[in-house]
Structures are given as C-alpha cells and as structure tokens.
Amino acid sequence: MSTITVLNPLFEATGPESVTMAQRSTPADPVVITVIENSKPHAKELLSYVADGLRERLPVSDVVVHSKSAAGKPLDADEAEMLAVRSHLVITGLGD
C-alpha cells in the first residue's frame, strides 16, 4: 500500500478558538428595541407582528421596525451605528 500526501482544500481558521462575550448591563429607561426586517416579501408584515407582540409583552418604551435596503446586503457601518445609538437591543429576522 502506498500513500500520497495531499493538502486540505477546506477553510482552516487561524483566529482564536473562542472569544469572550461583551459585558452585559441593565439598560436605563426608556428601553428601545429595534427589529430588523430583511425586506423580502411579507418580511415587514411578519416582523411587524413580532414587534407588536414584544410591545404588548415587554416593559419597553418602543419597538421599532427597521427595513434593510436589500436582503442580501449587510447593514452598512453608518446604518449599524445609527441603530446602535438608538437601540438597547436589536433583533434581526427574515421572511421569504
């Protein structure tokens, strides 16, 4: 039996195996939650329904629904910064 040596074609991570979670803190009032919908058909309707449910069930001042410009594109840095400034918690969701 002869053997051959081959190189692994798969991605091999070189970064740290684990990271530490950012410190959690209790948000001060008024608490704002942002729900991001991915802008596919019915996503806004579905995620708005979820937002209504959160508004009814949680002691928050507001739940805002934010629409992405395209499902396949990530938020740009300015958009992410804007959401981070105005929100205490951001939830992403999708519909398709």
Binding site: S2, V6, L7, P9, F11, E12, G15, S39, P74
Partner: protein, 353 residues
C-alpha cells in the same frame, strides 16, 4: 498553511468523496508539488489573501485557491485566470455571500476576453458553452470548488439553492474575436485591447436563443428582446444584468447591418422594458413594499436593465443555423453586479484592477 493529509493512493478518490471535498465528480489529488507549481506559475506566495467574504469571516488564500484549482483539473497556466476570477468574485459589489447562498441557485459564470485565449486552451468557437476543452471546464470548476470548500457554499452548509442548475459545476464563455469594426468585451468594460480579463456573473443557466430564418438585424434583436422579457426570469422588470452570447450568424447579421455594440445595448435596454400587464399575464405579482419596488416609470413600464451598461455582449460560437445564448443574472443589481479583473501574466502576482 494548509494541513497535510496522508491518504492511501488506491483509495484517494473515495477518501475525497468521504471528506466532502468534491462537487460529486472525481478530482485531481492536490499534492504539495502540484499546488506549488500553481503558485510558482502565478508568482504568488501561499499565504497571500486573494479575496475576503466578510459576511462569512473567510479569507481565500492563494494556497487554498491553488489547492482547489489542482483538484478542478487546472494546469498552472490557468491559475492566473482563476486568481483574477476569485478577486472579481470578492469585489463587494458582486455580493458573493448572497450569490452563493440564495435559493435562486446562481452559477459563478465567467466571461473571458483577451487577445491570446488560445494560448490558455480556451475554446470560443464550436460548442463554446459545452464540454470538451480543459480550460473552459476546469477554470470555472475551480472557482466553484473554492466557493464550496473555502466559503462553505455546499448544500449541507450555506448553499440554499432550491434547484441550482448544471452551470453550478462550471460555467465559462470565452470570447471569439468579434466581427471587424466591433470592440471586444474587455474594451467595453474599460480595459485595453491587449489585456486579458475575466468577468464574473452570478447567473441563471444559459438559455438558447434561436432565430434561424430572419436575416435582418431588427428580427434578430426582436428575438433577443423576447428572450430578455420572459416573465419567468426573476430579474425581468427588476433591473438585473444580462450576458448575451452572440452566435456567428447573429453577430454577423448585426455587424453587417451596421449595428454597433453600443447601439445594440441601447436598443435592448429600451426594448426589454415591460409593462406590469406583461408580467401579470405570466402570473407574476407586482411588489411595492419590498426590496424590489415595481412601480412603473412615467411611460408605464418597468426597466429590466438599468441601462445599456447592464447588457454585456460577447461573441462566441461557430457557424451553424442561427444560435445565440442569453444568460441573465439571477437577481437584481440591488444584490449583485458583475465584476471584472485583469488576468495577470505568468509570475506577475495578483490583479489590482
């Protein structure tokens, strides 16, 4: 650097299948010597990052590109084309993450344009989109294997294709010298006549366009416009891009009829505008509150392409009866636009444009 793995030679292919490294077809074993030959030919160090897909936190190194190019069956002379294609694929405007994830099942379709494509072994004439030529088959396959093995674009991971299509194994069209007086694809895209370029499209499958009895430019263009306005194609009326492979008879009729490439693109951009009625007759529902706003323009129509620049023309194919091909991108430009890079000469490293 890539991990070295020892496998029994007689069982190597079965081991590659067990590891999930292939597209379902056998591959060439990526030995260190074969991989080094790829890197040496291109003049790129193994650890150089060819491209990054940030949504997946994945870098594609030259070594991983070379390993997958070996597996696809490429020869070292093909590797600079593979590197240029990967660089284009990682252009943020191309939207690689979405293109290789979407349920729409896009291929990574490559269009190669250059003065010496024969030196690479590319076939641009008979059976231009079919099998039989190593360069055509393996360069496209290498890019797909990189997507599968490095980016995780496989059905068990992040490739969500509902159906996919055969072009997802490999899909490449090489440019035949166009009729006298016409520019080339690479010139249309702002490159020089002496450059070799590769353009990557996230595409649906290739649709044959038949017009065998109408010898007029207007008739040929009407058939292309008909192909471009099929309501069953997702991007029609939603601003996508199209690659038109102009077969021998059709390009000859158009060129001899005095049509320039610019005039063809302008004509088809206009002729592919559609009314909501046209789409609704095909069962399509208009979207108004989603990412695809399908509110008609002042003329009551929707643009299928934003303008002439989203109609890409490439000459290919041998004399026959009157065949061309229409290759639409799988989604609107909101998600992905074609990206082009120059293929570097041997030993010259990565492309910068």
């Amino acid at each position: 650097m890539a991990t070295r793995i020892d496998v029994e030679e007689h069982d190597a292919q079965e081991e590659f299948f067990r590891q999930g490294w292939t597209d379902g077809l056998p591959v060439v074993p990526p030995t260190p010597e074969r991989v080094a030959a790829m890197l040496d030919h291109a003049g790129v160090a193994a650890d150089v990052v060819v491209g990054t897909v940030p949504e997946r936190s994945r870098d594609i190194t030259a070594e991983k590109a070379a390993i997958n190019a070996v597996m696809a069956g490429c020869a070292p002379i093909h590797f600079p084309v593979v590197l240029a294609a990967i660089t284009a694929m990682c252009d943020p405007a191309f939207g690689c993450h979405t293109a290789v994830t979407s349920t729409g099942g896009a291929a990574l379709c490559l269009a190669v344009s250059g003065p010496e494509l024969g030196a690479y072994g590319f076939n641009a004439t008979r059976n231009a989109l079919g099998p039989g030529h190593r360069a055509n088959a393996t360069v496209g396959r290498a890019v797909r294997l990189v997507a599968m093995n490095v980016l995780g674009a496989r059905s068990t991971e992040l490739d969500g294709s509902s159906l996919g299509h055969p072009g997802k194994y490999t899909m490449l069209v090489a440019e035949e010298p166009p009729p006298e007086g016409w520019t080339t694809l690479r010139e249309d895209l702002g490159h020089g006549l002496d450059d070799t370029t590769v353009t990557v499209f996230a595409s649906e499958g290739s649709h044959q366009v038949a017009n065998q009895l109408n010898g007029t430019p207007e008739g040929v263009l009407a058939t292309f416009a008909a192909a471009m306005t099929n309501p069953a194609t997702y991007g029609v009326g939603k601003k996508h891009q199209v690659l038109l492979v102009l077969g021998y008879e059709h390009r000859t009729i158009l060129a001899e009829g005095g049509w320039t490439r610019d005039a063809i693109r302008e004509h088809l951009a206009e002729a592919s505008r559609v009314t909501p009625d046209h789409l609704e007759a095909g069962g399509i529902v208009m979207e108004h509150t989603t990412q695809n706003d399908m509110t008609p323009d002042a003329d009551g129509k929707l643009a299928t392409v934003r303008g002439p620049d989203d109609v890409f023309l490439i000459a290919a194919g041998s004399p026959g009866a009157g065949w061309s091909a229409y290759i639409p991108t799988w989604a609107p430009v909101l998600h992905s636009v074609a990206a082009t890079r120059r293929v570097m000469p041997a030993g010259a490293g990565l492309p910068s444009n």
